[in-house]
């Protein structure tokens, strides 16, 4: 094996988009491959867990783990890769803040299993069979990973050194990160490898946001003819931009869709949802409780709207009584 620095990729509870984003490096991936040895990447290479276990501790320079942690297997892999890597990077929203999978923290394990294996309209399962963690069959025990009580971000399971935010992270951020790794010029541990200002910084529509914004109504994007040049909030459409870290190059905005918050909060904020809530509610143009409520009815699912990618890392982490 060469003495090029070793890099690994792994996925946990995620959609696979992060894996694709690595491929999105396009030609640059060759440059990366030139500079490093990819020692573990289940989606692309046939390397087994026991192969990783066999590597000396700390022998991998950096591992990028995407996806949130839901099962005991993912936890085990997280522990394993943590031990084998000098640097562990949470790659993408799910690993960073829980991501969309962590919206499942609004439901109990029982609710989820019941729905998926019994109640979903496409399911036929009269015996109500559910997968069990252990099952004896012909004298051998077959095991499945344990389904945990809640979804966690990577850093809620193991110590994480850096974060690459986004759903998925942009090729530009990935490339920057790899270059930094190789050059060894790394920021302090715990840093999110993206700018520490909010989306509006650099938003092409910023000029159209009034300085005296008053929200009279919240509109839903799919029911609205959206002006492609005006600030979404000025149009009454919830945009997570003000509470979301920048660095995504305003891709959604350019596609005429409001920011939904995948880059997570800035370093000064502990709870992204609470912050956008505070900013938006403050500008609601009503004084009487009834009128306020009427305007707020325009956000039918505040948790899904404000915590779309960050419920696991929010202060409350999950629905309390599930």
């Amino acid at each position: 094996m060469s003495d090029k620095p070793k890099i690994a990729f792994y996925w946990c509870a995620s959609c696979g988009g992060c894996e694709e984003s690595i491929v999105d490096l396009a030609e640059d991936i060759l440059e990366v491959a030139q500079a490093v040895d990819i020692v573990f990447w289940p989606v692309a290479m046939d390397v087994k867990r026991r192969d990783v276990e066999a590597m000396p501790d700390g022998s991998i320079l950096a591992t990028m783990v995407n996806g949130s942690i839901r099962t005991s297997e993912q936890e085990e892999m997280a522990y394993l890769l943590r031990r084998k890597s000098q640097i562990l990077i949470a790659y993408g929203s799910c690993a960073h803040t829980g991501g969309v999978p962590s919206l499942a923290n609004q439901f109990s394990r029982e609710q989820i299993l019941r729905y998926v294996y019994e109640e979903a309209p496409t399911v036929v399962n009269e015996e109500k069979v559910r997968p069990q963690p252990r099952h004896g069959h012909n004298g051998t025990a077959v095991t499945l990973p344990e389904f945990r009580a809640l979804v966690r971000s990577l850093d809620q399971v193991v110590e994480v050194d850096y974060y690459l935010p986004g759903c998925p992270p942009t090729p530009k951020l990935l490339k920057q990160a790899v270059l930094a790794l190789l050059s060894g010029e790394l920021p302090p541990k715990g840093t999110v490898l993206a700018p520490d200002t909010a989306q509006c910084d650099g938003c092409p529509r910023r000029d159209t946001k009034p300085t005296d914004l008053k929200i009279n109504e919240f509109k839903r994007p799919h029911w609205t003819q959206i002006d492609p040049n005006t600030c979404f909030l000025a149009q009454g459409i919830v945009c997570m931009g003000p509470a979301t870290r920048s660095g995504c190059e305003a891709q959604c905005i350019k596609g005429n869709m409001p920011c939904t918050g995948c880059f997570g909060p800035t370093s000064r904020v502990r709870d992204q949802g609470a912050k956008i809530l505070s900013a938006l509610a403050s500008s609601v143009n009503a004084r009487e409780p009834e009128d306020i409520e009427k305007i707020l009815d325009g956000i039918p699912d505040p948790v899904g709207t404000f915590y779309r990618y960050s419920l696991a890392k929010s202060l409350l982490r999950a629905k309390v009584t599930r």
Partner: protein, 665 residues
């Protein structure tokens, strides 16, 4: 943690016994012992009186000898002694904003009785403060300059006295009065208790002095309509209502009144409470100041219909002071401080139908009787009932609308003495039998009790009992044609029926009808009774919670003339002291934007009620003007990227406080 930023943190914790006030309920020793175990705490002490000189010296010594650089004092409310302990720290060379107070008296020992629970609470609060003070930063106090001019709102005796006092110190005063003349309620009184000197005789010289004073700008028939700014520079807009008379030209000859097309006065005279009539063009009373007539637009034919002979114009043809085209005008002034002396209104006795006011013509209020006994009043001082009789028996009912769960709970303070005075005057004028129905006689004041004795000796009947009702239903012939007071005489234990020719209701005193709007406009508070709230009930009874705004007279609560004058002088002294100091020190609790963190989302800009936040187009960042910021922190809470901070209330400071009180949860 932030050790680098703040150096080695060395916290001193001081638990005050406050004599027995705290120590009786909170185990102060245990709290101090506990505090000593907290991270960062170098010294924890308890002491009998932390606010005393030796107490403060204790802190100073520890700062000097033990290099304490954070101070937590668990004692009373920070509103009382925060400045004391900050001062102590400052004297020892520590930045005063490294001090954090914990309120274990008002919020703990005085409201709880269970020693264990109170001690646990004290520990929680101390721990929160220790965790919080860790993050404190050195801050500079802010100084704002004080505009030397003073606004006095209300031209009753309180406003008059305050205005004269400030003006005599050489400062310019604006005196704004809603009515057409200054004088207020005192001008309506006949004699004053207990000396019986005539109210007008002592008041009118002061009114003239106001008019003549070179430092006083007097605006009558005017109202403050908006107040902006803060201590040192209040921007005030005053609406000057049209009186349809050019004040600079009118000399008060009153010939226009004679000339009015209304030959007889036809409209209720407000000054005499409707007991006499006036014309559409009138002067409130002979000594009105300024002595300028005024036209009632509701009554004047010219102003109502535009079709009048306008004989008044002819009478004033030479001076040309009458101006039907006059419109309201607005004056904008800048003042450093404001004295509010907007007075009171009397209780409307129609709210107590059992006393028949408004139903029986011979039921009066004390204020009406003041006018009746006044030599220049509607009856030239003759006490005659509305049906034209000289009363042979008069009953004065005390506490009408006062000391009553159903109306107002407070004692109006002046009604006992007013009633004694009126009893004396009525007896003097008519020789009638006078009954005073009372619950308690309250004659506390210089010469008051002596006056009570005098009226007792004059043969006034005192019946102790709350009158149940005034009725005109006669039980027997002796009551025919009279009003009857039904009352349980609690001294004798009998229910009595006392026939009377005239009933006088000693109505209580209430906040002005628009006190709430005034309170909001000036940004001050009201107490539960609706009167304006003072900063401290004992030690600061004229300042308010809003710096640079003082209250005087009955807008603050019922009081008699001497107390009113004293409070007005006190308010004036505060205003003068403020102006002479020339500056005012503000808490450095302003908010600021960290420029490199701001994304320019503009969420904060519309939230500031003081327009302190602007959006800098060149930098595409928000900016907070520290001079305009009042430190509420609303923008800080709203900043979606956490880029606005508030001095003294940083996010980390509050989070650590929250987590401090919940450490055991």
């Amino acid at each position: 943690m932030s050790e680098k930023k703040n150096g080695q943190v060395r916290i001193g914790v001081y638990i005050c016994h406050c004599g027995a006030n705290i120590a009786d309920t909170v185990d102060v020793k245990a709290v101090a012992e506990y505090a000593a175990t907290l991270p960062g705490v170098v010294i924890a002490r308890d002491y009998k009186y932390m606010c005393s000189d030796p107490g403060q010296e204790l802190i100073q010594q520890d700062i000097e000898e033990h290099q304490i650089n954070r101070v937590v004092v668990a004692a009373c409310s920070p509103s009382l002694h925060e400045h004391t302990f900050r001062g102590a720290a400052e004297r020892a060379g520590l930045n005063p904003f490294f001090v954090q107070m914990v309120n274990i008296r008002e919020h703990d020992s005085w409201v709880h009785t269970e020693r264990e629970a109170a001690t646990v609470k004290a520990k929680d609060l101390v721990r929160a403060a220790v965790q919080r003070v860790y993050f404190h930063k050195p801050l500079e106090k802010r100084r704002v300059p004080i505009h030397p001019e003073v606004l006095v709102v209300g031209g009753g005796i309180a406003g008059i006295h305050a205005a004269l006092t400030v003006a005599n110190s050489g400062k310019k005063v604006y005196l704004v009065e809603r009515e057409a003349t200054i004088g207020g309620h005192m001008a309506q009184y006949d004699k004053t208790f207990p000396t019986l000197d005539c109210a007008a005789c002592i008041l009118t010289p002061k009114m003239s002095a106001v008019k003549a004073h070179p430092n006083i700008v007097l605006w009558t028939y005017s109202e403050v309509v908006s107040v902006d700014g803060s201590v040192g520079d209040y921007k005030v807009v005053v609406k000057r209502k049209p009186r349809y008379i050019r004040e600079d030209l009118c000399v008060g000859c009153l010939q226009c009144i004679d000339a009015c097309v209304f030959k007889e006065p036809k409209f209720d005279d407000e000054f005499n409470l409707g007991l006499s009539k006036r014309k559409p063009i009138y002067i409130p009373f002979p000594q009105a100041t300024p002595k300028v007539v005024v036209i009632d637009p509701e009554a004047c034919i010219q102003l109502r219909t535009g079709k009048c002979k306008r004989s008044c114009l002819e009478a004033c043809v030479e001076r040309g002071a009458i101006d039907f085209e006059q419109k309201e005008t607005y004056e904008e002034i800048h003042v450093g401080s404001i004295i509010i002396a907007t007075g009171f209104k009397t209780f409307d006795p129609r709210r107590l139908p059992q006393y028949g006011y408004g139903r029986y013509p011979n039921v009066y209020t004390t204020l009406e009787v003041e006018r009746l006994v006044n030599a220049s009043g509607p009856t030239s001082g003759q006490v005659i009932t509305r049906d034209g009789r000289v009363p042979k028996s008069v009953g004065i009912i005390l506490c009408v609308g006062s000391r009553d769960e159903n109306t107002n709970r407070w004692c109006s303070r002046v009604c006992c003495m007013t009633s004694l005075k009126l009893a004396h005057l009525i007896k003097e004028h008519t020789g009638a039998e006078v009954y005073i129905f009372y619950i308690d006689m309250r004659a506390a004041g210089k010469g008051y009790e002596e006056f009570y004795q005098r009226v007792l000796n004059e043969g006034v009947h005192f019946v102790r009992g709350r009158v149940a009702e005034i009725t005109d239903w006669a039980l027997d012939p002796s009551e025919e044609g009279k009003l009857v007071a039904r009352v349980e005489d609690t001294n004798t234990g009998f229910v009595r029926r006392i026939p009377l020719d005239m009933v006088v209701l000693a109505v209580g005193l209430e906040p002005q009808f628009d006190a709430h709007e005034v309170q909001r406009m000036f940004g001050i508070s009201c107490s539960l009774d609706g009167f304006f709230l003072e900063k401290h009930p004992k030690l600061a009874p004229a300042p308010t919670y809003t710096d640079g705004i003082f209250i005087a007279g009955l807008c603050h609560g019922p009081k008699d003339i001497p107390d009113t004058v004293m409070q007005a002088g006190y308010a004036a002294a505060e205003a003068i002291a403020l102006a002479d100091t020339g500056y005012f020190e503000l808490e450095p609790n302003t908010a600021y934007v960290v420029e490199e963190e701001c994304s320019g989302c503009k969420s904060c800009v519309p939230l500031c009620p003081y327009q302190a936040i602007t959006f800098k187009e060149d930098k595409q960042k928000a900016f907070i003007n520290e001079v305009l910021c009042k430190g509420c922190g609303t923008c800080v809470a709203a900043c979606p990227s956490g880029s606005i901070r508030q001095n003294l209330f940083e996010d980390e400071e509050i989070f650590s406080e929250i987590e401090g009180v919940l450490a055991y949860a």
